[in-house]
Structures are given as C-alpha cells and as structure tokens.
C-alpha cells in the first residue's frame, strides 16, 4: 500500500523541497482571481447584516479567510500576502485593539464598560453605527488574522 495515499505521490510527483506547493491549475488560478473579491464582498455583507439577520463577524471573518486561502492555493503564500497587504499578525492585533477599544469607548460615553452605545447615523448596507458593530468588526479582523496566520505559516514552511 505504498504510494496510493497522498495526492502528490498518486500523481507520480513527490513534493520536492524548495518548490512552492501550488496547485497549478488554470481553472483554479482564474477562479481564485475572481472569487477573492467576490468572497470578500460576501464576507462584508455577512458581517454587517449580522446584527439583524444570520451572520456576524465570526462567520464573515471565516468567509474572508477562505477567500484568501483559496487565493493562496493558486498563487502561493507570497501572492496572497501581497493581495492582503497587511501581515495577518497585525490584522489580529488591530482587531483585538478595535474590540477592546469599542468596550472602552463606552466608558468615554459615561456608561458601563462594554455597554452598547448607538448613534443616530445609519449608513446604507452597513447599518447603524454603534460600539457593538465596532466590536464585531474587531472579531472579523481577529478571525481573519488568526486563520491566515496559520495558512500562511504552513505555506511558507513548505517553501523553505
């Protein structure tokens, strides 16, 4: 039962050291290029509708992460990192800061820590600006950052 088990060996191409592990497929790379913006849009949609309909920062972050993960499969970690522009670790830190900041912001409005503060401003597609929304955006960024941190780490490792 020697070689039957891994995709590479099944295709007769054992993974060589130093070669980026891309799935070299025109279908995938073309699809990934169009799917990434689409998935990002959907993820934002899911994030913002979360307050009133199924969705929210956690799922939104996961969807966005799968968009980038798909892109990484096609173009490698470097390519995906270039598309993302920000390092996942910074994304993570910024998300945490935003979430904690939203909780602290309540104090500035004279209410208890983390008590929701809602503004009158209502934007199209995004909804009412509020500290819970800010918090949810923080969750979105943390989830995106953590998942991509793991994905990119594994990719880079294989390229070593």
């Amino acid at each position: 039962m020697a070689n039957r088990t891994t995709p590479h060996s099944a295709a007769g191409r054992p993974p060589a050291a130093g070669r980026p592990p891309r799935l070299e497929s025109i279908v995938l790379s073309t699809a990934a290029r169009y799917l990434l913006p689409l998935l990002l849009l959907i993820s934002l949609f899911i994030l913002f509708r979360g307050h009133n309909h199924p969705g929210g920062g956690f799922v939104g972050g996961l969807v966005a992460a799968s968009g980038f993960a798909l892109y990484a499969l096609a173009y490698g970690a470097m390519g995906a990192q270039q598309a993302l522009r920000i390092a996942p670790r910074n994304l993570m830190a910024f998300g945490l800061l935003l979430a904690a900041g939203s909780a602290l912001l309540s104090l500035a409005f004279g209410v208890a820590f983390m008590q929701g503060v809602y503004s009158k401003i209502e934007l199209p597609a995004i909804g009412k600006l509020s500290t819970p929304l800010m918090f949810d955006i923080g969750v979105y960024l943390v989830v995106l950052g953590v998942v991509l941190n793991i994905v990119f780490t594994f990719f880079e490792d294989q390229q070593d």
Binding site: T6, P7, N52, R89, G145
Partner: protein, 785 residues
C-alpha cells in the same frame, strides 16, 4: 485624592524613568530622587497631626459589588513605614546612580525601583485588605525583577526565581487568609475592621491566622522560609539596601503589626508568632557571623532582626514594652542596615570584592565612609548614644515582661542573638577599615563618589540624632505603637538614654561582652561549627528538593500524557471527558426516559442522519488520508445541514465555513505528511473503538438528558425580549455574541489570537536555538547554583 496621588506617583515615575535616564544621563538618579523626597516631605507634614493621635482615611469606591475599595488609611504605623519607604527610597535613587554608573540599562533599573517604591507606599497606605494584597503582590514581582536584574547570570536568575516562588506562594495563602478575615469581620476595609471587635473567638480564627501568618513569614524571610533572602543578595546592592533590609522584608512584619489588634491576644498568636520569630532570630544570628561575604553577613543579621521584630509582635498583647520596642527597633534597623548595605556596596564598587578576609585598612582612604560605618555599626551593636541601643533596651524590657513561662527562654535567646549580631557588626566595621592595608588590587582603589557616600552619611546622622535625643520620637512613636497595641490604655512612649542601673542595662553589658568575646574567638570557632551551617542540610535543601520534585513530576506527566503521539492526546482528552462528564451524570442520577418519537421526523432529516452515520463509518475504514478527510467533511456538512433545517442558520453558516477552511488547511498539510502507514495494532484499535463508543454513548445520553430535563430557562426568553429593545438587533445569536455576552467573546478572541501566535511560534521554532540562532542551554530551566 491626596493619598491616592502619593501612592500613584511612583508608578508615574516608573513610566517615565527610561526616558528620563536617556535625557539626563548621569543625573537621572539625582533627578528621580526628587519624587520620593517630595513624597517624604508631603508625608512628613502629617507627622504633627498623627502624633496628636489622629488617623486619616480617604476612600474611593472601586469594585463596590465585592466591597473592594481604594481606601487609604494613615495612622502612626502606616506613616512610619511610608516615611521609611520614601526617605530611604530617595537616598537609594542617588546611591544607585553612583553604584550603577556604567550600566547601560540604568533606565530599566530605575523603572523597576520606582515600581517597587510605588507598590510599597501603596501597601503601607492601603486601608483595604484586597488593595493591600494587590500592592503586596506588586512588591513581590518588582523584587523578582530587581533580584534578577543581572539576568545574564544564572545565580541572579535562580535567586530571583526562589524569591518569587517563596513569596508568591505565601502571597496566595495570604489572599485566602485575607478573604477569610474579611468575611469574619464583615468588611475588607481596615477602618471598619479595626473599629470592630477582636476576632480571636471567631470559629474561623485559626484558619485566618495561619494563612495570614504564612504570608507574613514568607515575605519577611522567617524560618524556614528565610533562605530566599541571602540568595537575594545577588541583586545589585542598592536593591539589597532598599528592598531586602529596610523596606520590603518588613512588609510581613508590617502586616502582622497591622492586623495584631484583630488577631493578637490568643494563645495561638502568642506561641506561634513568638516561636517563629525567636527561631528566626537565633538562626539568622548564628549564620551571620560565620560568613565572609559582607552582604551575606548583613543579610543573615537582617533575618535575625526580622525574627526579633516578629517575636516582639508575638508577645505584644498587653505588653506595651514589646510594641514600643518593635517600633523603635524597626526604625533603628532600617536606618543602620540601609547604611551598612550601602557601605558594603561602596566597598565592593571601590575594590571589587566583598570578602572581609581580603579587605583591610581602608579607613584612611575613605574617612567619610568609615565614619558612617562606625555610626551604623555601633547602632547595630546596640551601643549607647545610638538609636539601636534604645531599641535593644526596650526589647530586653519586653522579653522581661513576657508571659511568665517565656521570660527566661526569650530573654536568653535575645541576649545570645544580639551578641552574635553585635559580632557581625564588628566584623563589617573593623575588618575592612582597620588593620593593615589589604585589597585585591590596592593601586586601583578609588575613593567612593559623593553619590555612594551621601546615603550612608544621611542615615548615620539620623541614627545618631535619634540616639542622642530619643525624646524626639516620643509623640510619633506612641502613635505608631498605639496602632499596633492591644492594651487597655493608650501607650505614651517616654524614651531616654539613661534609666539608672536596670536589668536591661545589665543585659546590654553582658551582650556587648559576649559579642567582643565571640569576635576574638571567631577564627577558632569557624571550623568546628562548619558542619552546622545550612549549606548541606536545612531549609535550602528542602527548597531544592521541592523544586526537583516539581520538575520530576512535570517530566513524568509530560512523558506519559504529552508524548508527541496525537492519537494518545485525543484518546486521553476524550477518556477524561467521558469519565468526568459520565461520572457526574451518573452521580446526579438524572432520569433519562428512552422514548424517542420518529413519527414526526421528516424524511430528509432521516436521510441526512443516515448520510452522517455512513460517512462516519467510512472515515474509520479508509486507508487513504484524503478519502478519510473527505468522509469527515461530509459528516461536517451533514451536521451543518441539520443545523439549518432545525432553525439555526448562524450555526450552520459557521459550520460550513469551518468545513471549507478545514479542507483547505488539510490540503496544505497533506504534502508535508509522510506516507501513510498503518501502525495501529489490534490492541490499539480495540482501545480506540472503546473510547469512540464511550464518547458516542455519552453524547447520546447527554442530548437525551438535556431534552428530557428542560431547565427552567430565564435567559432565553430574556434575551429574546431584550435583543431588539435593549441592544437594537434582531439577530439574537449575534446580539448575545457581541453585546450581552460580549465580554466572553472578547476573552475568546484574545485566546484565539494567542493560539494563532502559538502556531506561528511553534512552526518557526527550531529546537536548540533561540530566535537569534544562538544556542540555548537546554538545562537552563533548572538550577545550576
């Protein structure tokens, strides 16, 4: 607000210390010392009011739900300690500038020092047990940072670890004690507690007493926990002078004194406190004069004096001499010991050694330092005209007024210990400064700078001033004593140098004679006494044994539970889960009616369930990883479908996303894994089957139990109603996540981030090298001293 500012000023100083050092260079210590001196001046302005018997209370509500307030309480005892901490603190800042003049990270040192000072001021001014505890812990942590300041040296690191382990363990026990105490007295606020009745008859008294005592004994280096203090001499000398003689080690003494109106008066207090104190007094004194290292001599004599202070508190109930002695001795010791440590450091700085056998005749080269050493040494030896003499006379008066069955024992032990401490004082003053000129490199001895001599001289002047005119301390000392005392009428202290020919005076004469005899017999006694020293047995060995035991235990548990085989991890976690949850379920005897109705179940639900079961079965049978993962994926999607059909779209959506990501991640890892070879034996396979079956059965019963015993839910309807009204959102699930239970989510995303960083760190880790590619000593976690 005023006292709050006093205790926060040090934290502010800590924040700016590194920048200050960068900007002001060699004057950083002098500049920084302005803060403690300003605090000292401000606090000193309270002396007249406090001496007149007033107490000052400031209260800021902090966590009202738990009765935790930022209460500050200033009475004689608190003020005495606060003045010592700020006054000596200022001198130490200046001294540190001279001592660490060529240190590149001096800013970091000032930061730690300021952190400590702020915490110590906060500790002594705290009027709330919990606030006190928080400051107590900060002093432990800053002490750890300061002892380990020279972090390149294994000695420093090990000493820091030992100090932290001992004081922090004691701190945990203390927390328990303080909570018990608070519940006994009905409040955590000291003014309320001290105004209430004594607690000696309370049923929980013994628990509170032992827990508080454990905290005090560890912090104040009492036998058998004294071993960390000599080790702490690895710290730079300014730290030894400040934390480990004048202030922090007195925190335990302070705590006992602070709580003695509540806890003293019982037989337990009398025998336990005075017993530990007396034992420490003798052990410390015995070890001090047998050392050759200046700092270790001083450290062990500090242990001895701390023991004396604790012993005095032990016999303090109804014995006003004991309380007075404790106050005066505490002050006298801080003054002379702080000075002696600074002198030892200055000698070390000038000559490069602290070994008394390698030093001699330095008095001519350093006349000012010698003068300060004479004054401090005479005070330590309890010679008249110095404050140490007054303290020692009072201590003898106190032991002579102890309960009848203790008088002879305590007085004899005190005389012997004081004599040995006197010998060590003589060693520190005579050996380096008198006799023939001796130093490792006599040509390169330079006279100490002003910064190094300022502190010892200032403290020496005070020792002399209070020794010549002790009546200066009458009013303030009485206020401090009355804060501690458990006596019928208020104490009115009347200090004087001459009381006529009294028993304490005779005892003093005996003490000095014994000290002189011991000094001259020292060389002949060292060798025969060698086996008695605690290097090869005693508390230090117990500590090392305990530490080795912990490492062995960790090693054992890591080898068995975390042996690197993923299958074992999963099996361990699942088995533990099944046993714990299943056991609890059986223990509570929940009735689980097995009555499931299938007639209302729609056909597609059944189909999905069948799909899940079949996929799960295949997942266990496939020999290919890819196939097994695909099968697991279809289990996941089946479950997600069920979520959706049962009306949980949020859950379903998340589950779908997770499944997609899992496939991508696994596809990534797949290339890195070795060729799959089944190494599972029949026995393993049987075991995993049992574990899997156990989990399945448990989950089935859990679900049945949960649906058969619907708990009276208050939250579900509440969240449902309030979701839109209070949180302006119609999606209850999301509102719970980001609003109602937002704090949980904040915790979860923090944990998630830490896990993410952990994955990154682990994947980048190359065993045997640190981040810079430098080899790391793999035995570094243990001790090598």
């Amino acid at each position: 607000m005023d006292l709050l500012l006093v205790s926060l000023a040090g934290f502010l100083l800590a924040a700016v210390a590194p920048a200050l050092t960068r900007l002001s260079g060699r004057y950083a210590g002098w500049l920084a010392s302005l803060v403690p001196f300003a605090l000292f001046g401000y606090l000193a302005s309270f002396v007249p009011a406090i001496a007149a018997g007033e107490t000052i209370v400031r209260q800021i509500t902090w966590v009202p739900a738990f009765g935790i307030n930022l209460t500050f309480y200033l009475d004689g005892l608190a003020l005495l300690m606060a003045l010592l901490v700020t006054g000596i603190g200022g001198l130490i800042y200046i001294y540190a500038q001279g001592y660490l003049d060529d240190d590149e990270t001096f800013g970091r040192f000032l930061l730690y020092l300021s952190l400590f000072m702020a915490a110590m001021v906060g500790l002594v001014l705290s009027g709330n047990l919990i606030t006190l505890f928080i400051f107590w812990e900060i002093t432990s942590i800053s002490s750890y940072l300061l002892i380990g300041y020279k972090d390149k040296y294994a000695d420093s690191r090990n000493a820091a670890q030992q100090a932290l382990l001992i004081t922090a363990s004691g701190g945990l026990v203390l927390l328990a004690g303080l909570i018990v105490l608070g519940s006994m007295g009905g409040s955590f606020d000291l003014p309320t507690l001290l105004g209430g009745p004594a607690l000696a008859d309370h049923p929980l008294y013994a628990i509170a007493f032992w827990c508080v005592l454990a905290g005090a004994l560890t912090k104040s280096a009492q036998v058998p926990f004294h071993t960390w203090l000599p080790g702490a001499m690895a710290a730079p000398t300014p730290v030894s002078a400040y934390l480990h003689s004048a202030t922090m080690v007195k925190a335990g003494v302070y705590l006992l004194a602070r709580l003695s109106p509540l806890l003293a008066g019982s037989d337990l207090w009398l025998y336990a406190v005075s017993g530990f104190g007396a034992a420490t007094m003798v052990v410390g004194a015995l070890l001090s004069w047998q050392n050759n290292d200046l700092k270790r001599i001083l450290a062990y004599s500090t242990v001895s004096v701390l023991g004396t202070l604790v012993m005095l508190l032990g016999i303090g109930a109804g014995n006003h001499y004991a309380v007075e002695a404790m106050v005066i001795l505490l002050l006298a010791h801080a003054l002379y010991k702080g000075a002696l440590f600074m002198i030892a450091g200055a000698l070390d700085h000038a000559t490069g050694t602290r070994d008394i056998d390698k030093l001699g005749g330095l008095g001519r080269k350093m006349p000012w330092l010698f003068g300060a050493a004479i004054v401090a040494g005479l005070s330590k030896g309890g010679i008249p005209l110095l404050l140490g003499f007054i303290g020692k006379e009072l201590a003898y008066e106190a032991t002579l007024h102890a309960p009848a069955n203790l008088i002879i024992a305590l007085t004899a032990l005190a005389v012997v210990s004081n004599a040995m401490v006197g010998t060590s004082a003589a060693l520190v003053v005579i050996k380096p400064f008198l006799g023939a000129m001796r130093a490792p490199d006599p040509a390169h001895i330079h006279a100490p700078s002003l910064a190094l001599q300022f502190g010892p001289l200032a403290l020496g002047v005070l020792s002399l001033l209070f020794g010549l005119a002790p009546a200066l301390l009458d009013g303030f000392g009485s206020a401090a004593a009355n804060a501690i005392a458990v006596t019928a009428e208020p104490i009115a202290m009347h200090l004087a140098i001459w009381h006529g020919i009294t028993t304490p005076l005779l005892l003093s004469i005996v003490t000095v004679a014994l000290a002189a005899a011991l000094y001259f017999a020292r060389d002949r006694l060292l060798r025969p006494l060698q086996p008695l020293r605690g290097d090869n047995w005693g508390a230090q060995k117990w500590y090392e044994g305990a530490l080795d035991g912990i490492v062995t235990l960790a090693d054992l548990s890591t080898r068995t539970l975390q042996n690197g085989n993923l299958r074992v991890y999963v099996a361990t976690i699942l088995t533990a889960g099944v046993l714990l949850v299943g056991g609890t379920l059986l223990n509570f005897g929940l009735t689980i009616p097995i009555q499931v109705q299938f007639d209302e179940t729609p056909l597609y639900d059944v189909l999905i369930c069948v799909l899940i079961i079949v996929s799960a079965a295949f997942a266990t049978r496939f020999e290919s990883r890819l196939a097994a993962i695909a099968a697991l994926g279809s289990v996941g999607f089946g479950v997600a479908l069920l979520f959706m059909l049962l009306g949980a779209p949020d859950l379903a959506m998340t589950q779908f996303s997770i499944e997609v990501l899992a496939v991508v991640l696994i596809a990534l890892i797949m290339g890195r894994l070795p060729v799959y070879v089944s190494r599972v034996s029949m026995a393993d396979s049987t075991l995993t089957t049992f574990v899997a079956a156990g989990v399945g059965v448990l989950m089935t019963f859990l679900v049945l139990a949960a649906t058969a015993n619907p708990a009276e839910s208050v939250l579900a309807p509440y969240f449902g109603e309030q979701s839109y009204l209070a949180a302006q959102g119609r999606n209850v699930v999301n509102v719970i996540l980001v609003d109602f239970r937002g704090f949980d989510t904040l915790g979860e995303i923090t944990v998630l981030s830490i896990a993410g960083i952990g994955v990154y760190a682990l994947s980048k880790l190359t065993i045997g090298e640190d981040a810079d590619g430098q080899p790391v000593d793999s035995t570094d976690g243990g001790r090598d001293g």
